[in-house]
């Protein structure tokens, strides 16, 4: 029996050798010649369209970019890899995409970056993009890039919509001033999320002065159950408005089931929770993807760190749920949008918030020595904290007054 097995093993090895020898000429790794108008792009995703949120939004950006570029005569062949974890499987996914001939590989989740960077040196001719993270900019390599959009601008406006609804409820006597509490489902207690909910809160407080906020972190970007549980827990804590920085729609469903309101992220969730969801905000990745691929095809430089905001159309609001929004919301949105675009409204205006009772006068933006604490580039000047100026990935990590962290352990 053992003898037969070893024979089998030898056969297996031998057949491998023959195949490997035969195949070695046909496969040359990632650098397969492409004709000028077709480009193969890999998109590695943390989830799939079923989240109807984060990854769904990327897929929409993908399809939009394909359309834009097709009109310009550029064909994009996408290779989308779904449901990859923020772990070593991301190394394998990047290798797979590179070996299958992708010329550009986009990693859609924050935690993919360290694993992506393990692969990039083996494929110097391939462009690697890490969305929402920040190490590729400063790593000295030419083929690694970061990209993000000023989603905090959209969140500020979503906050305004939420604040108007809360103020309406106060004015109508449904709740009293102290009961205007927002519950925020956050993924992790880290800069991108902190920046997001702070801008959202500041937006809400700009129209509803008595509002306060409670934040609960679920410890995962995409965990439908935990997000739902967290939303329910927040509602049980007395929150009457739910917003989220997480990938799924379950916070919207939870809000609807308990009769409170909601604003979304990544997708228009008014279809899922028509009686709860007021509005959403999302990044339009099509803008970036089309620019990226166009530059690549034309041999132009790909920005090391791409960042754009509402002005460029990279951050957009989803349709307002007019049926349940406070009267005058649409006009107010237009006004704030214009204010953000022309710079008359600063989202992180330091006169609008306090930290430990005092005005914020100093905060660093960048971490240069790799200890994960910001240590250079002053972000506070001209009366505002300047988010996403020194790098695309958010760096606002200050805990401001009025926002209560229910769990900070993550």
């Amino acid at each position: 029996m053992r003898k037969t097995l070893s024979v089998l093993f030898v056969l297996l090895i031998a057949s491998t050798l023959v195949f490997a020898g035969g195949a070695s000429e046909s496969s040359t790794g990632g650098a397969e010649a492409s004709d000028a108008t077709t480009v193969k792009v890999g998109l590695i995703c943390i989830g799939d369209e079923n989240d109807q949120g984060y990854t769904f939004n990327f897929i929409r950006g993908r399809d939009e970019a394909t359309e834009i570029l097709a009109a310009e005569g550029i064909n994009v062949e996408w290779m989308t890899i779904y449901n990859i974890g923020e772990d070593a499987s991301c190394i394998d996914a990047n290798i797979e995409a590179a070996e299958e001939g992708c010329e550009i590989i986009i990693n859609n989740s924050y935690g993919f970056e360290p694993f992506m960077l393990e692969v990039v040196d083996d494929y110097p001719e391939i462009e690697f993009i890490s969305c929402t993270n920040c190490a590729s900019v400063f790593d000295g390599r030419d083929n690694t890039h970061n990209a993000f959009a000023n989603i905090y601008e959209g969140r500020y406006i979503a906050g305004v919509v939420a604040g108007m609804k809360l103020q309406q409820m106060i004015d109508e006597g449904t709740i009293n001033e102290d009961e205007a509490v927002i519950g925020y489902v956050g993924a992790f207690s880290f800069a991108e999320v902190i920046s997001g909910f702070t801008s959202y809160f500041l937006g809400a407080r700009s129209v509803c002065p008595s509002v306060t906020m409670k934040v609960m972190f679920v410890g995962s970007w995409s965990d439908a159950t935990a997000e739902s549980d967290a939303a329910l827990a927040l509602i049980d804590e007395g929150c009457v408005m739910i917003s989220q920085h997480s990938d799924n729609t379950t916070p919207a469903t939870a809000a609807q089931s308990r009769g409170v309101f909601h604003t979304g992220y990544n997708n228009d969730m008014t279809g899922i929770a028509p009686e709860a969801s007021l509005i959403g905000t999302r990044i339009d990745w099509g803008i970036y993807f089309s620019e990226l691929i166009r530059n690549y095809v034309n041999g132009e430089e790909i920005p090391q760190d791409w960042c754009a905001g509402m002005g460029e159309g990279a951050v957009v609001m989803t349709p307002l749920n007019e049926a349940i929004a406070a009267p005058g919301t649409a006009e107010k949105i237009a006004e704030v949008e214009a204010g953000i675009a022309d710079g008359s409204i600063q989202v992180f205006d330091t006169s609008t918030f306090t930290v430990g009772g005092e005005e914020l006068t100093h905060a660093f933006a960048l971490d240069t020595d790799g200890d994960f604490t910001a240590d250079s580039e002053e972000a506070v000047f001209d009366g505002a904290f300047h988010e996403s100026l020194f790098q695309s990935a958010p760096y606002f990590t200050v805990q401001i007054d009025g926002i209560e962290w229910l769990n900070a352990a993550y």
Partner: protein, 327 residues
């Protein structure tokens, strides 16, 4: 107090999922079969249950009504679970393969099938797979009128749940009645305790083992479906069910193989899994809450083995195949 009520209510939501998984596995283990494939079975139940409701709605469109969708989802999940455990039964009972290894193989297989079906639906639909709001509502709404739910304390704890919770309770009671009050149930217990004796007494062991294992698998699978249509919001969730089946296996031990214990046991386990979002205990990092159910199970396991009290032991032949000719 308020925290406690919300904790119990939320515990029941996830606990319902576990209850099905556990009740199914209790029935299986009572026959002496340790089916470690629950994880895979629940995955399959989730995928096929969702598929049942989804394709029903796709076929009839807006005419789809909640009760039919619920029945179809239960049926689809149950049949899928039965099929999966039928494979296990055939291998372990008829072909006498090792139960641990076969169970693990079923775990791998079932997880694969579940994820495959879930993914394939998405690929075929060219986008996300979701039920309409009205069906979603039918799955997640309380069966009692709002009036009952609003009663303080008792309302949220007793009346605010989905139909699946009440069905699970009925099932637990029925199973308790079957196992301890009917002749057939006692035969089943005897098969699990001592197949040789039962065989000698003329009980058809093979039939009991097959039926208990297959039906048990079907019940476990319903748990997977309940997860998808309640907590996961009626969309396929690729990793959502991972670990749930193993938790159900743990819960069987925690309940010391008694169906009635599964009712409160699963609520406690359900509460422990979401406690990190609700209650902060100083000195214990919230992340570590999630291992509490397993730690508690280990302690139960150790204590019962140390005490060696006869009524709290696993079925004596658990995990062992029965060979008549080696009797």
């Amino acid at each position: 107090m308020n925290t406690l009520i919300t904790l119990i209510t939320a515990g029941i939501t996830f606990g319902t999922v576990l209850m099905y998984g556990t009740l199914g596995e209790i029935l299986t283990e009572k026959s002496g079969n340790l089916n470690l494939g629950v994880e895979g079975i629940m995955y399959m139940g989730g995928a096929f249950g969702l598929a049942g409701a989804f394709y029903y709605e796709k076929a009839v469109g807006a005419a789809a009504i909640g009760p039919v969708a619920i029945i179809l989802a239960i049926l689809a999940a149950f049949v899928a679970g039965c099929a999966a455990s039928a494979i296990y039964s055939f291998l372990t009972i008829t072909l006498r393969t090792n139960q641990n290894v076969t169970g693990l193989a079923l775990s791998i297989f079932g997880t694969g099938v579940g994820q495959f079906v879930g993914e394939l639906m998405r690929v075929k639909e060219g986008g996300y797979v979701a039920l309409s709001n009205s069906l979603k509502n039918a799955f997640s709404a309380s069966v009692f009128p709002g009036f009952f739910v609003k009663i303080p304390i008792v309302g949220p704890i007793l009346f605010s749940h989905t139909i699946f919770f009440y069905l699970a309770i009925i099932l637990a009671i029925a199973m308790w009645f079957y196992l301890s009050k009917t002749r057939s149930g006692m035969y089943l217990t005897a098969v699990g305790e001592s197949p040789a004796t039962s065989d000698a007494a003329g009980i058809n062991i093979t039939r009991y083992k097959y039926l208990a294992t297959i039906i048990g698998g079907g019940i476990s699978a319903i748990g997977g479906m309940v997860y998808i249509v309640t907590t996961a919001g009626c969309v396929w969730n690729h990793e959502g069910l991972s670990g749930v089946g193993w938790l159900a296996v743990a819960l069987v031990i925690f309940c010391v193989w008694r169906p009635l214990n599964a009712i409160w046991g699963s609520v406690i386990f359900g509460a422990m899994m979401i406690m990190y979002l609700r209650v902060a205990i100083p000195f214990i990092p919230t992340q570590l809450y999630k291992i509490l159910p397993y730690v508690v199970t280990v302690i139960v396991l150790i204590i019962t083995s140390m005490r060696n009290s006869r009524d709290k032991q696993p079925p004596a032949s658990l995990g062992l195949n029965y060979f008549r000719e080696e009797r």
